[in-house]
Symmetry: C2
Subunit: 304 residues, 2 copies
């Protein structure tokens, strides 16, 4: 029966395969990501301001998004006005395009029944980038296809141009952006999208990014793909209603989720990046020692 | 009512937003991807050999994968033996981890009920890379985070090292790989995975890639995410059965899907890459003029 046992052992290790790929192993001079996080202290984590957390409730559960007012203050404030005016009360998921985006907004936006913007503006000056000055930029040593410099600001992936002094949020998986028409200022926040596939970095500086999903990403990625062009749901019955879309700060404190994100300007974060750059352990036969901006995990946890 | 009309126009353009981002527009000296494909000739397309096409039938439909015998001939032949021995008749989707992989195989692989490999071997020498010599490598001008040189071979994304003369398939979205345990040769093809998120290129040369999904990707990406560690389905009822898993060449010709992929060594493909590198049209305010290996589309069409 040793042959059979061999099969079972092979099977067991197959199931464990990417366990090793993701958690790394133990016996190496550089720590694994799990070890770095376990050794983190309370001060390595921060609670995002409830004024810059969005809750989107879908039938399957809640998606939580952290906003980045350092990069897109104007459109974020417009979304706040739209939200308080009840604009999103009739919104639905409009499209899900495989390896690209899920997008929501007003399903009647081209009809006489279009939902009014209320106190929100119909146009907002585009915030495609901002001055690098004044940002606490934590650089990442990586050869990036799209930007000369990449790194993080307050937990968000960022591209930077050394010459022109500008910085911008990068279209990584899970990033939240403002759909727009041909006019840059047409993105007023009434229709938003989340990246659900390989980072479409060609959109950087062409669309306004405003934050990222920090919980519930799978509620968006598992949406059925639309069969219309660009993944639009041609059949209205496939559109998923937004049960609620609101800022955490507009809810009573007792109804807010106590969530924390790892600070990116810390030694712990530097160690985490290095643990992902060089994959310690026996499983990796060629531990690479390289990393890509959108492959750096940005850990989130529910506060204790 | 001009104010209202303005709203409607804004709404209309919001819905159209990423239409422009993906299809580009018309009035530019460089063509859009749609124009390049429309101008393609019959000889720009090829029919993959039915001996190297896998059909995986799930309850939701068929996933079609093209295999790359130039890179992993041994494990592909072992999968053929496993398939003909009926190994996959009891296989299920074992895990779906968000932004990472979907993986299938024998749900009983650690028990006395493990499915026998039949004529298939329990181990196969790992094919992590191969000699660059003899490959028709079509280079891509891109600054890649992981490989010194990147490009395409027969429609597959490839990394290459100029110094050591080696080439390997790259872990882009949709690529198909062989799960393995700690021993490199433990990946015998009895458990396979597909990349369903941002390219985890750190896996390159650490796991054997054998091909890519060319149809039905959304059947894998919309699978519910498993709640166990690494997205394993702890609840067996969440496991999705493989209704069939077979080589197209093992089916009667009348039951094969007539599918074509764009050749990558052609002027048409070069034009397509350039259409994606520089986004023509009015929508893009900053058309980037850069591209990433895993953002190059590899078009597929059903033959007429």
């Amino acid at each position: 029966m040793s042959g059979c046992k061999g099969l079972r052992v092979a099977g067991a290790s197959l199931a464990a395969t990417i366990l090793l790929a993701t958690s790394g192993a133990i016996a190496d001079e550089r720590p694994t990501m799990a070890a770095v996080l376990e050794a983190s202290s309370a001060s390595d984590w921060r609670k995002p301001s409830s004024d810059f957390l969005l809750y989107m409730d879908l039938p399957g559960g809640r998606v939580i998004m952290e906003l980045a007012p350092d990069f897109a203050p104007k459109v974020i404030e417009n979304i706040r006005l739209l939200t308080r005016s009840g604009f999103f009360s009739t919104s639905v998921i409009l499209r899900s395009q495989d390896n690209y985006v899920a997008q929501w907004g007003d399903p009647n936006d081209e009809t006489d029944n279009a939902q009014p913007f209320g106190d929100g503006a119909a146009t907002v000056a585009a915030e495609f980038y901002r001055a690098s000055r004044g940002l606490n930029f934590v650089g990442l040593d990586s050869r990036d296809a799209y930007a000369d410099e990449v790194g993080f600001v307050s937990g968000f992936p960022v591209g930077r141009d050394a010459d022109d002094g500008r910085s911008w949020l990068a279209h990584c998986y899970g990033m939240l952006g403002v759909a727009r028409g041909e006019a840059p200022e047409s993105g007023n926040g009434s229709s938003l999208y989340v990246i659900t596939g390989h980072a479409p970095r060609q959109l950087d500086r062409n669309v306004v990014l405003i934050g990222r999903v920090i919980q519930g990403m799978e509620l968006l990625t598992t949406l059925p793909r639309g069969r219309g062009a660009l993944g639009f749901y041609e059949d209205r019955e496939m559109q998923v209603p937004l049960l609620a879309f609101q800022f955490a700060g507009d809810l009573p404190e007792s109804e807010r989720v106590d969530i924390e994100v790892l600070r990116t300007g810390t030694d712990t974060f530097s160690s985490l990046v290095e643990s992902r750059r060089y994959r310690a352990g026996d499983w990796f036969v060629d531990p690479v020692d390289k990393i890509d901006l959108c492959n750096v995990p940005l850990p989130v946890r529910l506060a204790e």
